[in-house]
């Protein structure tokens, strides 16, 4: 395996365009992504380590981490289940309105987050279309962390659907046909034969959705209620610091979110890469 992948990578240099694509990529990443981020660290440089620590561990900020992480986790789990179901239905079945359903999946990306926020708050408030149905049953959505999770789930659902869908499409029919012809039930064949192929995409999509939820502001703020210690999200804490002209404080909290997210994304990329290598025997 090792030697194979080495040979592959050697022969890959046959392809042209290394210099050009490297040049464009590095230039772009440096100018557009890294250079501005240095501004963030420039702000941090003005803080001592103790100051930094006391900003990012202040009680209310810590409470906001808990709210944000908790709600994002719930949203990610909902999205994992819902996203898998949707991807499955969109790939495997033919039915009237399928194209419409497919198009609908991209809506959360296309809608400005503020619009999503206003609309969701309108729908789930106690006098909204949904709120009126749910409230008598004892579910309060708007102004609780359930509302936060809902808004997060809404803005990040396409990540799961759009990562799982292509993998499911590429899955050869023989795989599950073979299992079925050997007498496996739907459940067993799905769990044993199909899921192993879907896991990486599902985890990647769910991970991306989770990361997206950590930074979301516009869609959440209208439905959150923003009560100290209960429904304040971390993005709001950053926003508050900005209002106080406290760039260093804002940058400090933003850096916590940034590092958490980047670490998660790196983990996803490494894991995904390892998986693809396993699948294609070093052909990545």
């Amino acid at each position: 395996m090792k030697s194979l992948s080495f040979r592959q990578s050697g022969s890959a240099r046959v392809l042209p365009g290394f210099g050009l694509s490297m040049g464009i990529s590095v230039l772009f990443i440096s100018l557009v992504l890294l250079l501005p981020i240095t501004g963030l660290f420039g702000q941090l440089a003005g803080l001592s380590l103790a100051e930094y620590w006391s900003i990012v561990t202040e009680g209310r900020v810590v409470a906001s981490y808990a709210v944000t992480l908790g709600a994002a986790a719930v949203a990610a789990l909902i999205n994992a289940a819902f996203g898998l179901l949707l991807a499955w239905v969109l790939v495997r079945y033919e039915f009237p309105g399928k194209q419409l359903l497919d198009a609908l999946m991209d809506l959360p990306f296309a809608l400005p987050t503020a619009v999503a926020g206003i609309t969701l708050a309108t729908l789930y408030a106690s006098n909204g279309w949904m709120g009126r149905l749910l409230e008598p049953l004892g579910f309060q959505v708007a102004y609780t962390w359930v509302g936060i999770a809902l808004a997060m789930a809404f803005t990040s659902i396409p990540f799961v659907v759009r990562t799982v869908q292509p993998v499911l499409e590429d899955l050869p029919a023989e795989i599950d046909e073979a299992a079925m012809s050997l007498g496996a039930t739907d459940g067993v064949a799905f769990r044993r034969v199909i899921m192993p192929h879907l896991w990486p995409a599902l985890v990647t999509g769910t991970g991306l959705a989770f990361v997206r939820s950590l930074g979301e502001f516009g869609a959440i703020i209208f439905i959150a209620g923003n009560m100290p210690y209960e429904t304040e999200i971390t993005a709001l804490m950053i926003f508050v610091r900005l209002q106080e002209y406290d760039y260093a404080g804002a940058s400090a909290i933003a850096s916590v979110v940034l590092f958490t997210s980047l670490a998660l994304l790196l983990a996803i990329n490494v894991w995904q890469g390892r998986f693809v290598r396993r699948l294609h025997g070093g052909n990545s």
């Binding site: 501005p36 359903l101 809608l111 400005p112 987050t113 619009v115 979110v257």
Partner: protein
């Protein structure tokens, strides 16, 4: 032959669940937007849409999107080519770096641009000496829009190009094709749908971006006001119908791009079927 989930009962149940949940979760908000926009009648909707400030906001928003797409396209293809066709140290890091925009809250993204290119930032300060203003003018809006949208094309292409491998391209090169020909004749046909989908996502996000743009725009009506900013202002001014009219426009732009994609896709599959 029978495949998993082919039993009519399972099939029906799953489709029903998917459709119902989507309707509740995704379609209902969309309907609510149009319901609110048209709640005072078509005429009021039209008046709001044809307002001179709204028209300017639409124009600026589309213009920014039009300028963003080619930049993201070139970058996305170059990066995807680089990380999927060559192995070199730092490849994985590079791939993670392009996710920075996903990891940075849009408001913070706007802020870092402001701190660098604003009058107190070191680049901004330098440019100010030549009376060049980037922030609070359209170049600033374009810059942050490129920042938040640049991962989409690359993210769509990388997994696909990774899965497809390099054999076809290597064969073409061995047969003496030039780099550009290989890309146009071999790679492009393979990635065109992913490319298109990346462009559509880029466009959708570029048109709808609010957080980052709100920091660097200054929101001067008739000058630097994009449609999402305009919408928020109308909402602030107790003009819910006006706000949702703009929201409906944005939703329409989104639906239009999605419909275009579906139509192109269908035509292409039909042509392939004929051949």
């Amino acid at each position: 032959m029978r495949r998993v989930g082919d039993a009519p009962a399972v099939r029906g149940l799953l489709i029903l669940a998917a459709v119902l949940l989507s309707a509740l979760f995704l379609l209902l908000p969309l309907v609510a937007i149009f319901a609110q926009a048209l709640s005072s009648g078509v005429m009021v909707f039209w008046e709001n849409v044809s307002n001179v400030y709204t028209l300017h906001a639409i124009g600026l928003t589309l213009l920014i999107a039009l300028m963003t797409i080619p930049v993201c396209l070139v970058f996305g293809v170059a990066l995807a080519w680089l990380v999927t066709r060559f192995r070199f140290p730092g490849r994985r890091i590079l791939q993670t770096l392009i996710d920075i925009p996903f990891a940075v809250s849009p408001v913070v993204a706007g802020l870092v641009y402001l701190l660098l290119y604003g009058r107190n930032g070191w680049i901004g300060n330098f440019l100010d000496g030549y009376d060049i203003q980037l922030m609070f003018a359209w170049p600033g809006i374009l810059m942050v829009t490129i920042f938040v949208t640049c991962p989409f094309v690359a993210r769509e292409l990388i997994p696909l190009m990774q899965a497809q491998g390099t054999r076809e391209e290597e064969a073409a090169v061995t047969l003496g094709a030039s780099g550009w020909t290989v890309f146009r004749r071999v790679t492009l046909p393979n990635i065109k749908w992913a490319l298109l989908y990346g462009v559509i996502l880029t466009n959708a996000r570029a048109v709808g971006e609010f957080g980052a743009v709100s920091v660097v725009s200054g929101a001067i009506r008739g000058q630097t006001n994009t449609l999402p900013l305009h919408l928020e202002q109308l909402y602030q001014d107790y003009n819910a119908v006006g706000a949702f009219s703009s929201a409906a426009l944005l939703a329409l732009i989104a639906l239009l791009t999605l419909a275009t994609k579906a139509a192109l896709q269908r035509r292409a599959t039909r042509r392939e079927a004929i051949l």
